[in-house]
Symmetry: C2
Subunit: 188 residues, 2 copies
């Protein structure tokens, strides 16, 4: 849980009693590579923090192809926030890309946790604002970048990540075919 606690402490203070309380109310879930935390048609039950490993969020499009829309590495949160907030069925899957250790804050625990540790409101306000800020930039990139620019931008922003995930997943995230990505890699 060390990544989790260290990450929180960058933004808020926690006494050791509060730390213990928090740890007693979250779940640590070991997730094997390719195991699912959410599948289409289910309601997203928790907000997931990657203590160690990597998760991906994807949907299956009309043509039956997996389209990845988000990744989460160590110290990132991931969920289908529409499904989690509104308790509606999800259109997404969340799956482990590697063997991972996940910390889950389950929805039914969330309000109790926030009322006992109100500083978590601040922590998640900052996390959500950051995620939304990145999402705003991403909308700009969607409109503004050619395919090749998207790829160059992504490898410049996340060089280690590009080494770590399978290339076909990177292609899916960028909206490329795997063949187009191979071509680009030879060229760039």
């Amino acid at each position: 849980m060390q990544n989790f606690i260290n990450h929180l402490k960058k933004y808020i203070s926690l006494t050791s009693d509060e730390e213990q309380l928090l740890l007693s109310m979250v779940k640590t879930i070991p997730v094997k590579k390719k195991a699912y935390l959410l599948a289409e048609g289910q309601v997203c039950k928790a907000n997931y923090f990657v203590e160690q490993g990597c998760l991906r969020l994807f949907f299956i499009n009309d043509k039956g192809i997996e389209q990845i829309t988000h990744f989460a590495l160590e110290n990132w949160w991931i969920a289908d926030y529409m499904s989690l907030s509104m308790q509606v069925k999800s259109q997404f899957y969340i799956q482990a890309v590697e063997d991972s250790t996940i910390i889950a804050i389950e929805r039914h625990q969330q309000e109790e946790l926030f009322s006992k540790l109100p500083q978590l409101e601040r922590y998640f306000r900052i996390m959500m604002q950051r995620a939304y800020a990145a999402a705003q930039m991403r909308v700009k990139f969607f409109h503004d970048y050619s395919k090749e620019e998207s790829y160059r931008h992504f490898i410049a922003m996340f060089p280690e990540f590009v080494q770590r995930i399978p290339q076909y997943m990177l292609a899916s995230y960028l909206g490329f075919t795997p063949e187009y990505l191979s071509e680009l890699r030879r060229k760039v």
Copy 2:
């Protein structure tokens, strides 16, 4: 300020003293149609709440064309959150689509406001989570919808909005040419 206060009170409680304190620390800004709250190259100085009217967030692309990425109507917040959070220069413009009344929480006031009224952390955590949830769905739509489906989806979700904004702005938001949108409107 009535929309602003009512909106807050849907999510958090405020005593009348707290309400007064809050109102003393925010700015009410009348913004004429076509006036700017932010221009490219400036640092975004505040988080803006639309008390009355409509704002748009856009950037100018390589071809010199305005590309709208977000709108905000009554009871919505809008800012360049990357610029606001990181205090970096913005790549966007925020402009009034109509004569509007805006409530601004300025960045230099924000931390004092949060420390005096910590329930605002909860309010903004909920606002940001909601905005991010919508952004996650939007990434799905970008990949999943044809141009015609994007248009149908948008008019189904926001019928009044479609009546209210100029058609060329709707075209820009959807990534269409105005000509393509006219064609679609005749057809749908």
